[in-house]
């Protein structure tokens, strides 16, 4: 015998009833009520902690049961089986497994899932987004961190002409804009905005010397533009921001730092290698050796401006390995 409260769904009247089984039927008996319904038509609430469970009948009426142990006894003779989520929620081993799995999945998503999804997303975003972001970023930085270039006008024009005369491996010539700026803060550096605009700083041109080396650096930056690495990184940081916003509350103020992040973006080794490979391919396509890019890297590493904090190489990790790779490409290029 199991005591329960019966509610008719039409009023808040409580009827105390006794529940019992008779064959395949549930019998509800109490104050002016005597019901007998096939148990197969009764829906049993899943167990949620020690909350009362309800046995719901098809007409919207139900019995509220507080004695969960007695209810289990009654259910055990009906062939009722709790749902799998219900059972997992009470199973200590599975709860511990869930803790470990949640932590592991979040870490994996951050390490691999996020870059993959951001790269996919970057290639599907309308170009207008990259354009707007880049225009805004440039507007914010010009006159504050970025100053007009002090390189002679003739050299800039000559470099621009050579840059636009480059033939891209996939055909055509670069449609990226090439901008010259000077920046005491950012030192010997070059970077690509989300729309592919390449900004090269005076200190970098001074440090690497010759035009072929400069073109090699541009080729590398075109690799970032081609792979839309800027947008990818932006999507990644937005996603991380959104995650923290949802997880611990509003930190939208921090997102105001986005323009600075675009410039000081730290590309992963993977993205740098992609940009190197594209740059090398582009150089060979134009009859130049990939070793030129290695030369530029070497000169930058040797110059105090390049290796200093905030310089080109600080955002481009493991230079030695990259130079070795590029020089190997250069040797095979000469052999052909």
């Amino acid at each position: 015998m199991l005591q329960a409260n019966y509610f008719d769904g039409r009023s808040t009247r409580v009827r105390v009833v006794d529940l019992s089984l008779a064959g395949d039927d549930l019998v509800i008996a109490g104050e002016d009520i005597n019901l007998r319904v096939p148990f197969a038509q009764v829906t049993v609430d899943e167990r949620l902690g020690r909350a009362p469970r309800r046995l719901r009948l098809t007409d919207g009426t139900f019995c509220e049961v507080r004695d969960l142990v007695a209810l289990d006894t009654l259910l055990s003779s009906t062939g009722h089986r709790d749902g799998w989520v219900d059972r997992m929620q009470r199973h200590l081993q599975f709860i511990l497994f869930s803790v470990v799995a949640c932590v592991a999945l979040v870490l994996m998503a951050y390490k691999w899932g996020l870059p993959w999804a951001a790269a996919k997303g970057a290639h599907h975003l309308p170009p207008a987004i990259g354009k707007t972001l880049s225009v805004q970023t440039l507007k914010l930085l010009d006159g504050k961190i970025l100053m007009p270039s002090k390189i002679a006008e003739e050299r800039r024009q000559a470099l621009s002409a050579k840059f636009h005369a480059l033939r891209l491996p996939e055909g055509g010539s670069p449609d990226s804009e090439l901008l010259f700026r000077d920046s005491p803060q950012l030192g010997a550096n070059a970077f690509t905005l989300p729309d592919g605009t390449i900004i090269v700083l005076d200190d970098l041109l001074t440090a690497i010397g010759g035009d072929p080396q400069a073109l090699a650096v541009f080729a590398h930056e075109l690799g970032h533009a081609h792979g839309r690495h800027g947008l990818q990184l932006l999507l990644q940081s937005s996603a991380v921001g959104a995650f923290w916003t949802l997880y611990i509350g509003d930190i939208s103020n921090l997102l105001a730092a986005a323009p600075a992040a675009i410039v000081q973006a730290r590309y992963s080794q993977d993205l740098e290698r992609q940009a190197d490979d594209y740059g090398a391919e582009l150089l060979m396509h134009n009859g130049m050796s990939p070793a030129l890019l290695a030369d530029s890297l070497e000169k930058l590493a040797a110059s105090p401006a390049g290796a200093s904090k905030g310089g080109y190489l600080s955002s481009h990790p493991s230079t030695d390995e990259r130079m070795r790779h590029l020089r190997q490409l250069g040797i095979s290029f000469k052999d052909e």
Partner: protein, 347 residues
């Protein structure tokens, strides 16, 4: 008639198992399962809340909540897109959201109340769409152009719209708090914030922030350590307000609202202690951060308990005599959109 104290019988340890298993299922299904997890969370809290020996129940269907979540996400993306990238479309999208929002919020009230029951009798929300536009758009606009001097009045109108249009079965609820009472509590909030700002200023922390902003204006390089310290202090101050003045204000305003709400002739007494709520909020925050979130289930249970057990129902008659209304079907779109846009205006 005896006072009927609300009881909350949930426990953090018990809820942890439910929370973590549903979190895992949500991650594995890339968020799809979150609708089912939400129903389970609400059911856990509703069913562990009881008054006069009977518990509440939540009836919302997960598939409806899922549809609502998809629509809410689309709106969230449109909102972010338009705010971050100022294009001619921005105004159009923002106006569209402003026009749709009151309707969605009204639907969210309807969905939430219709799917809440006690002793098998459901609640209902019967506020009109016109009323929603008046409360959210017109009053919101008034609050904005009066630099939020009207905000307490707007809050009072919103609560009146919500509670005057709520029904339990065929019994109508009513709201009796006056705007003047809201102003008193808002003035207390303002006074507390001013005192807080003065204390921050006197302690020299404000000085550090001013020095920092000046260094930035001159284009100079601030010492990275000083920058970090200033930023940490700034967010520390924000968090301190969030776990002290915030909960105290919440306790006072919630008490005012529920002490002035009646279900038919039945009255409600709500006595959340501001100091108790401050303590719970502070300790929850510290423990959630220290455990990287694993304390969340306990935090939720503690917060629910301190609030719910401060509420008593003062019956004016027999609680057995409420009669249910005719059933109606209601979608979940509004509620989900409101959740994503963080307009949690219910208790």
């Amino acid at each position: 008639m005896d006072k009927e104290q609300l009881r909350f019988t949930g426990s953090g340890g018990e809820y942890f198992g439910i929370w973590i298993v549903n979190l895992l299922l949500t991650i594995v299904t890339l968020g799809v399962y979150s609708a089912w997890a939400k129903v389970r969370r609400l059911q856990y809290f509703y069913r562990h809340t009881e008054v006069a020996g009977s518990s509440f129940d939540f009836h919302g269907s997960p598939s409806r909540i899922l549809v609502g979540r998809v629509i809410a996400l689309v709106m969230l993306f449109a909102y972010n897109y338009s705010v971050r990238l100022r294009s001619p479309l921005t105004i159009v999208i923002l106006v569209l959201i402003a026009v749709v929002m009151p309707w969605l919020l009204r639907n969210s009230f309807r969905f939430r109340l219709y799917n809440t029951s006690w002793r098998g009798t459901r609640f209902h929300f019967r506020g009109t769409v016109a009323g929603a536009y008046r409360v959210f758009l017109l009053n919101g606009f008034l609050a904005l152009i009066t630099i939020y001097v009207m905000a307490p009045f707007m809050h009072q109108r919103l609560k009146a719209y919500q509670h005057d249009n709520s029904w339990f079965g065929r019994t109508r609820c009513s709201f009796h708090a006056r705007a003047g009472q809201f102003y008193v509590i808002y003035l207390l909030l303002l006074a507390a914030l001013v005192v807080f700002a003065i204390v921050i200023g006197l302690s020299g922390i404000g000085g550090a922030l001013v020095a920092l902003s000046q260094a930035q204006k001159q284009g100079g390089h601030a010492n990275p350590f000083a920058v970090f310290r200033a930023v940490a202090i700034f967010y520390g101050a924000l968090i301190l307000v969030g776990v002290s003045i915030g909960p105290a204000f919440h306790a006072l305003i919630t008490n005012l609202i529920w002490n002035n709400t009646r279900i038919g002739e039945h009255r409600i007494e709500c006595k959340i202690s501001p100091s108790a709520l401050i303590w719970i909020t502070m300790s929850n925050f510290v423990l959630v951060v220290l455990t990287l979130g694993l304390f969340i289930p306990w935090a939720m249970v503690r917060l629910a308990r301190v609030q719910l057990e401060s509420v008593r129902l003062l019956p004016a008659g027999d609680l057995q005599e409420f009669v249910a209304a005719e059933p109606e079907a209601i979608g979940a779109v509004g509620e989900e959109a409101a959740t994503v846009f963080d307009f949690d205006i219910s208790l």
